[in-house]
Symmetry: C2
Subunit: 369 residues, 2 copies
């Protein structure tokens, strides 16, 4: 197996592919890239058995073949070579000589025959989403997935397409994040749960480019994202997602509008005094056109006051400041609107145009403190 | 104790002072800053019993006093406050209320009475060094200090002043770094050993500004660095330094001149295959106007070849690539000159003007490999 590639093209393919390389695995071959050279192309594949990535780059192939090379070692070597043509020569014992000018690096590889190849799915019913849009909608919801593997379905995100609307939802036991996005065309209904871990890696690969598109293909158990020279395959979580609509209410007794940046700074300071072991809430004391904020832990006390626009009743309510910070980071608006009912009922941060709706459960607190 | 300070001025003082805060200490008070407010000034002191730092900033003092506040907590709070005037109000039980506009943060402090204050040394015999020059000379030698506490004197750097020349030396069992620097004036002889840890922190604080000066004051057991509004005190290692001159030779049998960047890239790639446990050397094979480099470990093999200018005999010699990389990083010249004698004798990388001289011991290798 002999082929030549431009260094910067292999670097890009490696930087993408490494996102699906297992670091802790009982199958050592999953620590490798699978390289396939043929027909003026090099295909680089990685697969952690949940997420798989295949990137195709141009190559001058002298002798076709396949080989598995340790991903980290190959990445380190290629990154340290100059941006010139690189020659790969892999012999029958899978010794790989990687050379560039007078530089010659030799590492041992293994047969590609045992590698668990990706099974591409049929390219029918293509759904097109802007790369930036998909990247944003993942970032704006992914923090709400559960990390508790006992309820597997909550470790994923619910992707629903109805007509020309994509709705992405994530939820754990304390909060819900829902984002909607308009697609350019209408499609047949889609209702799948994509593993959060796959989306986190996909998000790193997606370009922040509104002009670029990603093509989505879905089957019963797999989703495939196709972009430029890369395809990304993820298993689906084959379970019915919760009926989130049942948990959402539009009723409220207190509605406030507050400057996002100022609220963020308050919460950020208050978290200095939040200790995981104490689970102390930050208390919002809403009265008239003001909101006093108080956090009181064994480390110290933080007090602050913000101007707000208020509608409805005065209210004193406690929250885990981290949950609120996560939501604020996901919102690009300058002001946010918060809907509350009482000390125990869910609180909603939602936009007027329905593009987002975040639910945060309040935390009980001892009002006498 | 009540005083007011500008946020950015306390931030700067804290960022400097935190370099002398102990994280692992049996004396909890060393995790604190000592704050002293009086006469329109706030003094912030930190002291890890080897290194001490005191910074003075302007303050509006309503009520003088002293207090100890946890350094990390104070730093976190101040960094998260807006750049405005900050009010400190510390009551008789050392509860500190730090406020800024409507923001109020309260933390517990402790009495300043038990704090091990710094003893400033007499400001006689002032030695003036440019801040950039001192920063450079530390960076260019500090990597050669020993981390083995059993030979305490080698964990420090030897600072010698003779006339208008400052010479700084560092050495462990495998290498020596010597740098010389011209001072603007002549001074009485100085011969001290400054702890490496103190110099590493000093280096972080020194400004990269050739126009700025640092004043040095030395006693038998202490060195004091004075700059702008900050003084830094370090204990000295009270021991005689090795006679390094005895170990240095100007004889050689092979002299080569090589492009620094190209040699660096070679060594950097070879280290990919260097494992601590194997201690495999990189072998320089010098013949005619070429140098072949080879590293051969259980991970892989790296080969390369560089053009050189050579004087003297051909030679095959092995080195720990890391030691060579450290030296190359400390040299700003485009080309370096390497003087060698045989496979076992020390190798020198030195400048023609005598401003630097680095010794690296070769590593034995099995030539048959």
């Amino acid at each position: 197996m002999i082929f030549h590639c431009q260094q910067n093209e292999i670097v890009n393919a490696i930087n993408t592919g490494i996102k699906a390389i297992s670091t802790r695995t009982t199958m050592p071959i999953l620590e490798c890239f699978y390289l396939e050279a043929s027909n003026d192309e090099l295909k680089i594949t990685s697969n952690n058995m949940e997420l798989g990535i295949k990137t195709t780059i141009p190559a001058r192939v002298e002798e076709s073949g396949t080989v598995c090379l340790n991903a980290k070692m190959l990445s380190d070597i290629i990154h340290k070579l100059p941006d010139e043509m690189i020659r790969f020569n892999i012999n029958d014992s899978f010794m790989a000589v990687i050379s560039c000018g007078k530089i010659k690096m030799t590492i041992g590889g293994q047969s590609g025959d045992d590698y668990p190849l990706l099974t591409e799915i049929e390219r029918e019913k293509c759904i097109t989403i802007s790369s930036l849009g998909l990247k944003d909608i993942i970032r704006q919801t992914i923090f709400s997935i559960s990390d508790n593997e006992t309820t597997k379905v909550l470790t994923g995100e619910h992707f629903e397409i109805n007509g020309d609307e994509l709705r992405v939802s994530a939820c754990d036991t304390h909060r819900i994040a829902i984002r909607k996005m308009q697609l350019k065309e209408s499609y047949d209904a889609v209702d799948v749960v994509i593993p959060g871990k796959s989306l986190i890696e996909l998000n790193k690969i997606l370009e922040s480019d509104a002009e670029k598109n990603v093509n989505l293909f879905v089957t019963n158990n797999t989703v495939m994202f196709e972009m430029d020279n890369t395809i990304i395959l993820s298993r689906l979580i084959e379970a019915k997602y919760l009926n989130i609509n049942q948990m959402i209410s539009n009723d409220f007794e207190t509605k406030i509008v507050v400057n996002k940046k100022k609220l963020y700074d308050c919460l950020d300071r208050a978290t200095l005094f939040a200790r995981e072991s104490e689970r102390k809430p930050i208390i919002f004391n809403i009265y008239d056109e003001r909101m006093a904020l108080n956090m009181n832990s064994t480390i110290g006390t933080a007090d602050d006051e913000l101007d707000i626009e208020k509608e409805g009743k005065n209210l004193m309510i406690g929250f885990n400041p981290k949950f609120f910070i996560d939501v604020i980071r996901a919102i690009d608006d300058e002001e946010i609107t918060i809907y509350m009912t009482n000390q125990k009922a869910p609180c909603y941060i939602r936009s007027n145009d329905g593009s987002y709706n975040y639910l945060v459960l309040p935390v009980q607190f001892n009002a006498s403190v």
